[in-house]
C-alpha cells in the first residue's frame, strides 16, 4: 500500500504511522469526551484518517482510503484540511 503524501509524493505505508479516524473532534468540556476517546464509526468503506509521515516530511496528513479495498482516493496536509 502506497500513500500519497502531498509534499513527498507516493510513499510506502511503512514510512507512516497511523492515528486513526480523522473525524472525532476533541470537545471543549467533559461532555462528549467519552465518545471522542472511545467510540468510533469504524466504517466499511471510505474513511478519512490521520497518518504521520514519520520517515518523510514529518507532517500529519489526512488520507481518504477505502477500508474494504485499501484503495486510496486522495490526501491533504492535516493542517490545511482543518483536521
Amino acid at each position: 500500500m502506497r500513500l500519497p503524501c502531498p509534499y513527498c509524493g507516493d510513499r510506502d505505508a511503512q514510512e507512516f504511522s497511523y492515528r486513526g479516524d480523522a473525524g472525532p473532534r476533541r470537545p471543549e468540556g467533559e461532555d462528549g469526551l467519552f465518545d471522542y476517546v472511545y467510540l468510533r464509526d469504524n466504517p466499511a468503506g471510505p474513511i478519512r484518517e490521520l497518518w504521520y509521515h514519520a520517515n518523510g516530511c514529518r507532517n500529519w496528513i489526512v488520507v481518504t482510503r477505502d477500508t474494504r479495498t485499501h484503495e486510496v482516493h486522495g490526501s491533504s496536509l492535516a493542517r490545511e484540511s482543518g483536521a
Binding site: 509534499y7 513527498c8 514510512e15 514529518r58 507532517n59
Partner: protein, 167 residues
Amino acid sequence: MAEHLIHSEQEGWALATVMARRAVGPAAVGAALELELRDEPVAVSNGAIRAIGTGPGAWLVIDTEPDHGFADALQDRLEGLASVSDQSSGYAVFRLSGAGARTALQRGAAIDFHPDVFAPGSVATTAIAHIGAIVWQVDDSPTYDVAVFRSLSGSFRHWLEETAAAL
C-alpha cells in the same frame, strides 16, 4: 563490482534545519537567505549556501565551506521568520557516486530514482534500510548526497559497504 560505487563521508560541512514560523511562506524565508525557496522537495543553491527541501516550510540548509558561527548567522538573518537549529554534528552526510550509485540507493529505499523522476536537484526524505535519510541528487554522473542522523551513521556505512560489495 564494488568499484562502480564510490562513497565517502563529507567532513567540515555546517548544517542547520530551518523551519518557517506559522503563516510565513517559503518566499519570505528565501528572500532572507537569498534563495528561491519553494514548498517542494528540491535542492536550491546560491553558490554560498544550499537549501534542501524536507517538508512544507522546512529545509536543511548547508554551507560546505562554513565560517565559524554559521547557525547563529543564519538565525540572525531569519529573525521572526523561521526557527534555526544547528545540525552540524547531528547529521552525517555521505556522498555516493559512480555508475552503481543509483542501483545502490534503489536497493535501500522504496522510492524511484529513475532519472525521469529523480534528477539533479531532486530531494527525498525517506528511509534506507530502516534508517531515516535525506537524499538529494547533486549531478547526473550521478552523484548523490545522503544525510542520516550521525548516531546511525555506523549502521548506514555498514549497509553501504554490504550493498557496494554485492553490486
